[in-house]
């Protein structure tokens, strides 16, 4: 099943699909958000934004608008 990180439920895991590199800032890649890597949604802030994810051993918080640009495969 396809979706974006923003569609995950809390605690749910998925794999990052091949990223559309133009839309993703380099910094996110450098922090470990890479294609083929498992990502887990850990927590959602009040008002559903930002999202707290675990990816590649890193714990990161990203905004929903960024999360919507990262497609994942469950």
């Amino acid at each position: 099943m396809f979706g974006t990180i923003a569609n995950l439920r809390i605690g749910e895991k998925a794999f990052i699909e091949k990223l559309c590199l133009d839309k993703i800032p380099l910094k996110l890649l450098e922090m470990g958000c890479l294609p083929g890597i498992e990502v887990q949604l850990i927590q959602v802030a009040p008002m559903n934004d930002p999202l707290y994810i675990k990816v590649n051993g890193s714990h990161l918080a990203i905004r929903k608008e960024t999360a919507e640009k990262i497609t994942v495969v469950k």
């Binding site: 380099l26 450098e30 890479l34 990161l60 918080a61 990203i62 608008e65």
Partner: protein
């Protein structure tokens, strides 16, 4: 010691890797903090003895996730490493990684390795290894990464000696990069690049063309080549992405064979704490309680040392007068210099307490949770979750707070944060508030434990935040600035704060304040004293005039002296200045004496108390040795016969100082950070008008 015996060391690492702890362990108190020329990034350097004849000069570079900078602080890391003429260009790089985040931390390491500078890898926090079930094969890792590895725990002083030994022998370190990235990306492209800059290592040339900044150290022809390569921006971006992906591939391959974590041993303390601290209700409640605790703490605890300092300087002043021969010089010392220094020293308790709290919140990792919790709310106001840190730091001093806004990704969010930070109650406002509140609010407890004065202080803080938020919303809707937002923050693991790190941080920040702002305060106090104790001809004839006026009345000697003193002040230079602006400030409820304090606190608001101290000191007779507060409380308004600092005037002053932009230092830093005079001028004028109008309204409501 000859220059040959100095090893220049650059300490680099991701944020939250314990880099600062390591720096403190290496250098102890032999640190100095300066500024890099031209920019206001703090430059932390320290000395460390390696052997009898060799010492290391260690530079603690700002924490960064990658060598590709996204902020001014990170640009500095790049500049230090690319410019061989830079005075901090290292002989050896020490890369600090956190064993728990080794994968992500190694990205920066592999980038640095490509620069072909001798590099040591410090794997930090190894004392956590057992507890977290981590196994690491050092020998194999050293071989695969072509580096010397030191296992360390900076907090527990493990591995420090071994690191010193490794630095001492830096010449024997390997300069071979990890893997050959350029071949994997595009062999042809990179061989062209290599031919264009044969004098540089390939990766250095790559960095030169991928950044947007201009590198001053390049020759004219090199600069032209850089511009030519940068033309194909699309291609560069694609290759940068590829580079990162390949680097992670290499790191994953290396770690697969050398590093493993036994997950069954991991405890989920982090998860539990996260669920509580970022909970949609408890999260905010806990944050509010922490803030309340901080503010009560500042007001309650700090008053004891502050009262002590105040009394001590008052008695020092009168003691000086009694032992030194009478005259101009004694007056300068006793009425100008000593109260001036006292006005600086009195800040120390509050600043120290505030910075202690702020650094505890940062050290524990809690601050990132606050950012996470507040981002959506702050965005509604036009700021970012990251604006919370500047706004809280702003309660200590706006200058470092504005510098702390650098990591806000979006320019618009950052600009708004910079513009509204001066509304937060900085420590320079504290003494002004403290003295006014003590004068107009009764010292009572409500609900048995909350101090009424403390609550008023908290209300002033809230007022500052409210002003910041309201003006932020306003700016958000008015400002038409286009900017892309980038918001990625790391949520570090929770840590018990290191007392040593907090101590150094507090000492450093307090020192910076005392010597930075202190100079202005002291200088202004002396100027003020001079203006108050000199004047035109009416001033010189003060004694005669007063004696002639009271000739037929039967005045006590003491009364007469008082009359002469206040006549003198009124006819001094500063008295005339105060009188000149009196019509303008009368609507706010102030007289010319408060006017003097307003004029003198134009450049720095904290001068207010010192100015009043000087004014009332000059004004009073020599035997009066009360504290500033006592003297202010005794002051009578001749128009009404009531106390000068009554409720309406006090409230009006509180409001004025809450809103007015009285800080030259902040204006200067805003100019530097926004690269324009427009924004600081907007602050000065906008906040000034707001302060005046609100103070007039306040005075009229309460009178």
């Amino acid at each position: 010691m000859s220059v040959d015996n100095v090893v220049k060391v650059a300490l680099i690492g991701n944020p939250n890797t314990g880099k600062t702890s390591l720096f403190n362990q290496l250098t102890g108190l032999k640190q100095k903090v300066g500024n890099y020329p031209g920019i206001t990034v703090e430059k932390k350097q320290g000395k460390c003895k390696l052997s009898d004849s060799v010492y290391a000069e260690v530079t603690d570079l700002p924490g960064t996730y990658s060598i590709n900078p996204t902020s001014l602080d990170e640009t500095l890391v790049l500049d230090t490493l690319l410019n061989e003429k830079n005075e901090t260009y290292p002989d050896v790089i020490v890369v600090v990684v956190d064993i728990e985040n080794i994968k992500r931390n190694l990205l920066l390491f592999t980038q640095l390795k490509d620069l072909k500078i001798p590099t040591i890898l410090v794997v930090n926090m190894v004392d956590q290894m057992k507890r977290k079930g981590i196994n690491i094969d050092i020998e194999q890792l050293e071989e695969k990464l072509n580096t010397k590895i030191v296992l360390a725990s900076a907090r527990k002083k493990i591995g420090i000696e071994e690191l010193k030994e490794a630095i001492l022998n830096y010449k024997s370190l390997s300069k071979t990069p990890v893997g050959n990235i350029s071949n994997k990306i595009d062999k042809e492209y990179f061989s062209k690049l290599r031919d264009a800059f044969p004098e540089f290592p390939l990766y250095k040339s790559w960095l030169l063309i991928t950044q947007q900044t201009e590198f001053e150290f390049l020759t004219q022809s090199q600069k032209q080549l850089v511009v030519k390569f940068r033309e194909n921006l699309e291609c560069i971006k694609r290759y940068q992405h590829k580079e990162t992906i390949f680097r992670y591939q290499i790191i994953n391959d290396v770690l697969k064979e050398t590093f493993n974590v036994d997950k069954s041993k991991a405890t989920d303390l982090r998860g539990v704490l996260d669920r509580i601290l970022t909970h949609k209700i408890f999260g905010y409640v806990i944050f509010a309680l922490i803030l309340l605790f901080i503010f009560q703490g500042i007001f309650d605890w700090a008053t004891y040392p502050m009262d002590l300092i105040d009394t001590a300087f008052a008695s020092l002043s009168s003691w000086t007068k009694s032992v030194m021969p009478q005259g101009m010089f004694t007056d300068l010392i006793a009425e100008g210099v000593i109260p001036g220094i006292g006005g600086v020293i009195i800040f120390i308790p509050q600043i120290a307490i505030l910075f202690t709290f702020i650094s505890i919140l940062e050290e524990t990792g809690y601050m990132s949770r606050v950012v996470f919790l507040m981002d959506k709310i702050m965005r509604k106001f036009g700021m970012s979750g990251k604006s919370v840190i500047p706004l809280i730091s702003g309660t200590a001093c706006a200058i470092p707070a504005i510098m702390a806004s650098r990591n806000i990704g979006s320019w618009k969010e950052r600009l708004i944060t910079i513009l509204v930070v001066p509304f937060t109650t900085c420590s320079a406002r504290l003494p002004v508030y403290a003295i006014l509140i003590a004068l107009i609010i009764p010292d009572k407890k409500v609900f048995g434990f909350l101090n009424l004065q403390g609550l008023t202080m908290m209300a002033m803080y809230l007022l500052g935040f409210a002003a910041a938020i309201v003006s932020s919303v306003l700016l958000h809707n008015v400002l038409k600035v286009k900017s892309k937002s980038l918001f990625v923050i790391e949520m570090p693991n929770y840590k018990i704060p290191s007392i040593k790190n907090i101590f150094y941080e507090v000492v450093e920040k307090t020192k910076a304040f005392v010597f930075g702002a202190g100079k202005i305060i002291l200088a202004l106090s002396i100027v003020l004293w001079f203006l108050a104790s000199n004047g035109p001809s009416t001033f010189k004839n003060a004694e005669k005039t007063v004696v002639a006026n009271v000739e037929n009345t039967n005045l006590e000697q003491e009364e007469l002296q008082k009359k002469i003193a206040s006549y003198k002040l009124e006819h001094s230079y500063i008295g005339y200045m105060g009188k000149t602006i009196e019509p303008a400030i009368k609507p706010m409820g102030y007289d010319w004496k408060i006017g003097i304090a307003l004029i003198s606190s134009f450049a720095a608001r904290e001068v207010f108390v010192g100015a009043l101290a000087t004014i009332y000191n000059v004004d009073s007779d020599d035997e009066n040795t009360g504290t500033i507060k006592e003297r202010m409380a005794a002051e009578i308004n001749p128009d009404t016969g009531k106390k000068r600092f009554d409720f309406p005037t006090g409230m009006s002053l509180l409001i004025f100082y809450a809103f007015a932009m009285q800080c030259i230092g902040t204006l200067a830093i805003v100019k530097r950070e926004t690269n324009s005079w427009m924004w600081p001028m907007l602050q000065l004028v906008g906040m000034g008008i707001l302060a005046y109008v609100s103070a007039v309204i306040t005075f009229n409501i309460f009178s």
